[in-house]
Symmetry: C2
């Protein structure tokens, strides 16, 4: 009988608090003006302030929250300039992933990517949140497939920064027919085995949504 080693890393409350806050932001449960106050959250969650603080400091470090002059932490206000820079950063990460995958040209990985795209674009209830998650999942699979932990980590950080805004998911209508074509063509460009073609295709795909994103943010404010 082969017994499986029991994982002994102790879960930290701070990690769970971090995830809960991130999830709440994404669900729209935390508004722009809401202040996340350590003592209050501690009372709500019935734990001490310490892990709350650790989680909040980490969310601040990750660029998702800012400490507020009135106390507590608020969702980071993102500027147009920052959005532009995030799009450039995305192009760097996801463009590199495309290059790596094009060079590798692994048929199984490409098939897996196509399967993910088909599955994720089968959104049952078209809310902006669902669209954001589907889009993130699709793009994330490209990174996962190129098996580079750092690119994945940077990808997650970029997308987490936009979680309060559904950044990168700005569309005029909740209509996936346009998106469907676009993602598959990315896989096609990777299948071309030409890293430059693949990267340019991904970069163009990313850049296309930039202006629409700025409009969406303007409407929000």
């Amino acid at each position: 009988m082969q017994l499986k080693k029991i994982k002994t890393d102790r879960p930290r409350l701070a990690d769970e608090v971090y995830q809960q806050i991130l999830t709440a932001i994404r669900a729209g449960d935390i508004k722009d003006e809401d202040r996340l106050v350590q003592e209050r959250l501690a009372a709500d969650l019935q734990i001490s302030r310490t892990p709350i603080r650790e989680a909040l400091l980490r969310l601040e470090q990750d660029g998702i929250l800012d400490s507020s002059p009135r106390g507590g932490f608020i969702i980071h206000r993102i500027s147009d300039q920052e959005v532009k820079e995030l799009y450039q950063a995305r192009a760097a990460i996801e463009g590199q992933a495309a290059r790596i995958l094009a060079v590798e040209n692994n048929k199984d990985k490409l098939a897996s990517l196509r399967a993910t795209i088909e599955r994720e674009e089968n959104i049952s209830s078209p809310t902006i949140e669902a669209y954001f998650e589907a889009n993130r999942s699709i793009h994330r699979t490209f990174i996962v497939q190129c098996e580079n932990r750092y690119l994945l980590e940077m990808f997650d950080n970029i997308w987490n920064r936009g979680v309060g805004y559904y950044l990168f998911a700005a569309i005029e209508k909740l209509d996936l027919s346009k998106s469907l074509g676009d993602h598959m063509s990315l896989v096609d460009s990777i299948a071309s085995a030409d890293p430059t073609v693949a990267m340019d295709s991904v970069v163009a795909h990313i850049t296309d949504g930039f202006d629409l994103q700025l409009e969406a943010l303007a409407k929000r404010q």
Copy 2:
């Protein structure tokens, strides 16, 4: 008389601890087997454990330290696979910076880059640490010049991960004559105004040092 607004952000002890530990790692004052124990560091620095803990958790989050099964935190052991991935991640970030700079083609920025290269390669005492810092500073200036906070942040994170190994600074001899030519040619490729040329040049420059780096790491263990 115009009075300057006094910065009111309260400095945190944790931030200073973070910097001190990073500096100590870079200086080689912390060895691979050294365990950074919260209580001990608190006694050494004559402060409470709390900011120590905050700094250590952040260094862990940044991938620079791992928590040790024997207690405390140790310098993260980096594998060949991780080095490979870091090189790819660098190529993504620095390659994108080159593209941005090539498109922009700002004469002042290029001149500033050249000045930095000349200054940094004027190392008075050729130690591996000095070489690492000079190399980092040169490469960092490319990122700074493209004015993208996220690329800069990711750049710093990548380089900080290698601080305990002088990663990206593996050379056969402490001789900068080779390095001098290489960095200037990067600026030249950016001056060509062709983003693909610029990026390919930077990526090749980065990739060239990869095998040498693996050898240096093997010798160290």
